[in-house]
């Protein structure tokens, strides 16, 4: 019984973790149709922001929840203003540019921070369930991810900014004809997506450590999740994370982590073969 509870908690944590590393990409791709291949490096920057902020005396939670998202959000806005905005509507060019940016950021991080793993200790200790223990921080992470997705949903559904973002996503030319500066919307959206990636990196840093090349480990999973989820940003990310994260974790428990990764990839291939538009292309069509 204890083992079942632990496995369920691990599955929930894995789903939350997958949703967390994917949501920034989902915002940028879902709303702007920009394939950001530097997404993993935004995650990496979030991780380093936490490490250096805590070294400079900032409280760990403040560093994770405020400093890292703000820092990476500003980086995202600078990238959008200097690179991305010249490439809207040119998907291949955008991919090449963000790939180049990804290599640049990895190289710069390696030069500045060195090619070694650094990290911060996970706060909060562990909880005991029967003869098993699990990290309390991982459970808090689940709550934070639920709050982030819920907050994002509330912003998109209930606020004026969310309405503008949804309208611009659907028809930028018409939104402009109603007085909306689509340039500003794109800039803010890219910055928000980058900030969410930074938040992901910050929250993952205590669990996985931070390395200049760490983004590579997350970018593929994030892309698979976003594409499998379909056009709806939140419902798509959540549904794909639930499916792929659960299968990954269960296969890892039954066999090995490598089998878990293979199961995730295989499930995504089968899913996209059956539902080429992703989960929300068939289900939850009006969901956000």
């Amino acid at each position: 019984m204890d083992l079942v509870v632990i496995i369920i908690l691990q599955v929930i944590a894995a789903v939350a973790s997958l949703a967390l590393v994917s949501v920034g990409l989902a915002v940028i791709f879902g709303m702007m149709r920009v394939i950001n291949l530097a997404h993993g490096e935004f995650i990496m920057l979030g991780g380093y922001a936490v490490i250096y902020a805590t070294r400079w005396g900032v409280n760990l939670w403040v560093a994770m929840l405020l400093v890292a998202p703000l820092f990476v959000g500003v980086v995202g806005i600078v990238v959008e203003r200097t690179v991305i905005r010249f490439l809207y509507g040119r998907m291949i060019d955008t991919m090449l540019a963000t790939w180049g940016l990804s290599l640049l950021l990895i190289g710069a991080a390696t030069m500045i921070f060195g090619n070694t793993t650094t990290g911060v200790s996970a706060p909060l200790g562990s909880v005991t369930i029967g003869q098993y223990q699990t990290s309390l921080y991982e459970l808090v992470l689940v709550v934070i991810v639920v709050a982030v997705l819920g907050g994002l949903m509330a912003i998109l559904r209930l606020t004026k900014a969310g309405l503008i973002a949804r309208a611009t996503m659907q028809n930028p030319a018409m939104a402009a004809s109603l007085g909306i500066s689509t340039n500003t919307v794109y800039m803010v959206t890219f910055g928000a997506g980058a900030a969410l990636s930074g938040l992901a990196g910050a929250l993952i840093a205590p669990l996985s450590g931070v390395l200049p090349t760490m983004g590579v480990a997350y970018v593929a999973k994030a892309f698979i999740t976003v594409i499998s989820g379909g056009s709806a940003i939140i419902a798509g990310t959540l549904s794909a994370s639930m499916l792929l994260g659960s299968l990954n974790t269960l296969a890892t428990f039954v066999a090995t982590p490598v089998v878990g990764e293979i199961t995730l990839l295989f499930a995504a291939i089968v899913l996209l073969r059956i539902l080429p538009q992703g989960i929300t292309g068939r289900f939850f069509r009006r969901a956000l």
Binding site: L163, A167, Q170, M174, A176, S177, L178, G179
Partner: protein, 231 residues
């Protein structure tokens, strides 16, 4: 209200508008009539700022907007009801109207006032824009535009693909709005009957230039000349 001189534009290297001149007074309803491919929609898209002009000048309420972006023109009072309606299909009817009133400090008041002129939209406020009929979408596109309280409305082929009973309703609504709000409109149309019912004068466009101006009384005679052209 709107002054256009020597306006030229096109798509890439293909010129479409060959030097358009147009003057619209406040409260005036000006029709633009022509065959397919003569530059009617290009004119509207250029006036709205979606196609960059290559020459000429556009003045809106005394301000030169020749180089202004679409959102800047909208903020100066240029309203657009585009061809194909361009409803935000994933947003509800009410959200579409809220988008129209997005720059207003009193959006609820404005939307309530606009809905009085569009009673057909009242029972379907929560329905998604994308599932409405063509006629309902056209009424919504017009209502959304009016929520922005424009000084002038560019109305691009509002009868295209709409069933006749709704075309009549759109015509009635526009006439009523003209009287109640003093609406200033540039209307592009292929239906002589519709354009004749509404317009003070009609400009005939051919190969990207106005070749003739016809006063309201002479519009009916255009029907004989352009027989078989009605959409």
């Amino acid at each position: 209200m709107l002054e256009v001189t020597g306006l030229k534009s096109g798509y890439g290297r293909i010129p479409i508008l060959m030097g358009i001149g147009l003057s619209v007074k406040p409260g005036e309803f000006v029709g633009v009539f022509g065959h397919n491919g003569m530059g009617k929609t290009t004119l509207m898209r250029t006036l709205a700022g979606h196609i960059k002009s290559t020459a000429g000048k556009v003045t809106l309420a005394g301000q030169d907007v020749s180089l202004a972006a679409p959102h800047q023109r909208a903020r100066l009072g240029l309203g657009l009801v585009p061809q194909g309606r361009e409803i935000f299909g994933g947003l509800s009817v009410l959200e579409n109207l809220r988008m129209g009133a997005i720059r207003s400090t009193q959006p609820a008041t404005i939307i309530a006032a606009v809905l009085e002129d569009f009673p057909r939209l009242k029972p379907i406020l929560e329905r998604a824009g994308g599932v409405l009929s063509g006629g309902e979408q056209q009424l919504l596109a017009l209502a959304r535009c009016l929520c922005g309280e424009p000084k002038i409305v560019l109305l691009d082929e509002p009868t295209e693909g709409i069933q006749p009973s709704i075309v009549d309703e759109i015509g009635d609504t526009l006439l009523r709005l003209r009287q109640s709000r003093g609406l200033t409109v540039v209307l592009v149309e292929q239906s002589i009957e519709f354009i004749g019912r509404l317009s003070d004068r009609v400009l005939v466009i051919q190969k990207g230039a106005f070749i003739r101006e016809v006063a309201h009384q002479g519009i009916a005679a255009l029907a004989d000349e352009f027989v078989g052209m009605e959409a």
